[in-house]
């Protein structure tokens, strides 16, 4: 089972995260073309090399169906492989393995994985309040017959904060809770962001005291433990060995992946504190023939500090119930013994919709390629990347290795 290591990430592009109010407005098709051109330039490849596309279906501005065909036509691509992914924050990780699998099956040679996440210009007849309407219920469906519309929304269960908070509360009841250790996750990542001029919180260091003094949103989560939504967008190119040989960067070879989902609301999980990233990571490590201890860096999806904590445990970096001790006893900064979210994580980099998770994949690629600037790790051949969508409902893991 699995990949043979014949596909690698060879190029990437990412908009600097910006506040929605001041970010440029671009059509999603336009963003896709712009990001594609930048990623090709980054890889040192030609437009004619691309013959695969993986794109978001949901939240694509100019179409809700036939998205790949519209994008292929707009860009001028001839595709042998087209795919949409609808896995929230897990989308980026899921895109990469789908692209790698398609390449290894011989369907295609170079795949553009792209997630536009700047807002589009308003049309002349467009009612700007659609955004407010769309945002009102977070990721919750209001459709007739949608279980969450009928059984969650009337009670005020909506958005992401309270779901993650309830997971953290359950964890606390089962294993204990150290608020300062949780704050340290955000603080160590903020340290990393001080070496990343692209990060939203570059130039703004943070202390544990500041995190603990910040507003409580939903017990036990403080506002500084919660990701900030920003405008952005990202793309990367996954290519076959043959194409990768022509690219100008050291490739990040996809040697393992896994994916797992069982529910939308974590309330229905067998055990709220054992998350789907566990089975996803087990599969990824087994496929790559590596162990957590073999990793030189971990780029762990961090919409909330609790997401990171549970991934550290469930992926096998720390024993179950000992994640907070692990955080206390290890230096998670890029200078430390356990480099994690070396770009600042989304907590400090910013979360551009589902493209937020691509920041973690791109950072893994940059570290492997030796292009991480002031925060470059001395040695970085093996990197673990995770993705999380919904409320720890859709999770995936990648193992990337230097070519």
């Amino acid at each position: 089972m699995g990949l043979k290591g014949n596909a690698a990430i060879v190029g990437a592009a990412q908009y600097k995260p910006e506040k929605y109010a001041t970010a440029p407005r671009m059509f999603h098709l336009e963003q896709v073309a712009d990001l594609a051109a930048r990623a090709l330039a980054d890889a040192g490849l030609q437009a004619s090399d691309l013959d695969g596309l993986v794109i978001n279906g949901p939240q694509f501005h100019e179409a809700s169906v036939f998205v790949p065909a519209m994008a292929a036509e707009y860009l001028g691509m001839k595709l042998n492989f087209a795919e949409v992914v609808d896995l929230g924050g897990c989308t980026s990780v899921a895109m990469v393995w789908r692209a790698a699998a398609a390449i290894e099956l011989g369907l295609c040679q170079a795949v553009l994985c792209v997630l536009p996440a700047r807002m589009a210009p308003f049309g002349p007849d467009e009612d700007p309040s659609w955004m407010a309407r769309a945002m009102r219920f977070g990721g919750h469906s209001t459709a007739f017959g949608a279980p969450e519309a009928e059984f969650d929304l009337p009670y005020g269960h909506m958005g992401q904060n309270t779901g993650y908070a309830m997971i953290a509360q359950r964890y606390a009841a089962q294993y204990g809770y150290d608020a300062a250790a949780m704050a340290k996750i955000a603080v160590d990542q903020r340290f990393n962001a001080q070496f990343n001029p692209e990060a939203m919180f570059y130039g703004q260091p943070l202390t544990v005291e500041q995190v603990l003094a910040s507003k409580m949103v939903a017990d036990p989560l403080h506002v500084l433990e919660i990701v900030m939504p920003v405008a952005g967008g990202a793309a990367l190119i996954v290519a076959s060995k043959e194409v990768a040989a022509r690219a100008r960067n050291r490739g990040a070879v996809v040697t393992g992946f896994g994916e797992h989902l069982e529910f939308k609301s974590p309330s229905y999980a067998d055990d709220m504190t054992r998350t789907p990233v566990g089975p996803a990571s087990d599969r990824a490590f087994a496929m790559a023939g590596l162990k957590p201890a073999d990793m030189h860096a971990a780029q762990i999806y961090d919409c909330y500090t609790i997401t990171t904590l549970l991934t550290l445990e469930d992926a096998g970096f720390a024993p179950k119930g000992e994640g907070m001790r692990f955080v206390r006893e290890n230096d998670l900064t890029w200078r430390g013994n356990f480099p994690m979210n070396t770009h600042g994580g989304q907590l400090s980099f910013g979360q551009a919709g589902s493209a937020g998770g691509m920041s973690q994949v791109i950072e893994a690629f940059h570290q492997i390629a030796g292009r991480a600037g002031d925060r470059q790790l001395a040695r970085c051949d093996n990197v673990y990347v995770s993705g999380t969508g919904g409320v720890m409902s859709e999770q995936g893991a990648l193992i990337l290795q230097g070519a």
Binding site: R133, P147, A149, E150, Y155, H157, M166, A168, A173, D219
Partner: protein, 312 residues
């Protein structure tokens, strides 16, 4: 309670569940093939996929699986429940239910505690939600035959009198601290409709609940900002001082007037204030009061009004 809260729309599949709640019963489908209990209602067993299910009444007793206290309303319409005690309850039959806890203080809530159901009828039509409380608690049902009770401010001790020409005492009133909250009043659709007629502002976002639910950004109608602003006259802010020794007092207008958040129809509002500035001049004494009106439970004001009062 805000009338814009999302309400369940029962389907053919779930109808017996909601009908049961109206009759103060909890009924759930149980798989006749494997015995598995099913929540939320489906036509199949989510363990063995059998379609041989039977509705059965259960006691509703269970334990608290997890909870959180939401310090920021998950939707502005839930401000009246703030802080919301959102919970996952595991029934003795094994199913988990997303719900809210009522009749429990924050300190009393512990994961693993025993709970019992509260069949909470939320409107005149009898729509009933399934909430939970402590096994030893009693939660009185809501009543819809009488107008909603309004919390009254306790009769205050005599207020400190300050003469309108006592510059030192007046300047000492200026503070960053707000007073306690005023009494509360309900801004319902009838009041909004009256104001629409009076002012001529009958924009649908205020007056057409059906259209506002479907097309509006707030899931229902909201009060006019101007209406909420003038309702200040009905909100008694408990300032500790009283200005005396003047012949005339006039409302001189506002230095700043903002409507930062909506007031959904059916919301309760209250107010608090502070003395922002004092100026003593030839015309008289001028007090600038910052008077903020909030939906009860909401930290973000619905109205910010820097009101200038002139004493002559």
């Amino acid at each position: 309670m805000s009338t814009n809260k999302p309400m369940p729309a029962p389907t053919e599949i779930s109808a017996p569940f909601w009908a049961g709640l109206k009759e103060q019963r909890l009924t759930l489908p149980q798989c006749q093939a494997c015995g598995h209990w099913i929540f939320y209602p489906r036509r199949h067993c989510d363990r063995c996929y059998s379609h041989d299910l039977k509705w059965q009444d259960v006691s509703g007793s269970g334990t608290l699986y997890s909870f959180t206290v939401a310090r920021i309303p998950t939707l502005p319409d839930f401000a009246d429940e703030a802080p919301q005690k959102l919970a996952v309850v595991e029934l003795d039959e094994g199913v988990r239910i997303n719900t809210t806890l009522i009749g429990l203080e924050e300190g009393e809530i512990k994961i693993g505690m025993r709970l019992k159901p509260v069949f909470d009828t939320v409107n005149r039509e009898g729509d009933t939600l399934l909430r939970f409380t402590g096994i030893d608690k009693d939660v009185a049902p809501r009543r819809f035959d009488a107008p909603q009770a309004v919390e009254q401010v306790e009769e205050q001790a005599p207020r400190r009198q300050i003469r309108v020409d006592d510059a030192e005492a007046l300047h000492a009133l200026v503070s960053d601290e707000f007073t306690a909250w005023s009494n509360q009043i309900v801004v319902d659709q009838a009041l909004i409709d009256e104001f629409a007629r009076l002012s001529g502002d009958d924009y649908w976002i205020h007056t057409d609940p059906e259209r506002a639910r479907k097309q509006g950004p707030f899931g229902g109608t909201i009060a006019h900002g101007a209406l909420v602003q003038v309702l200040m006259s009905r909100l008694k802010v408990p300032f500790e001082h009283e200005i005396v020794g003047f012949t005339n007092m006039v409302n001189y207008g506002s230095d700043r007037l903002r409507f930062p958040s909506p007031v959904p129809a059916g919301s309760r509002i209250h107010s608090r204030g502070r003395v922002k500035a004092v100026e003593i001049g030839k015309r008289g004494t001028q007090l600038t009061l910052e008077l903020n009106i909030h939906v009860v439970g909401s930290e973000r004001p619905a109205v910010i009004n820097d009101l200038v009062v002139l004493y002559m």
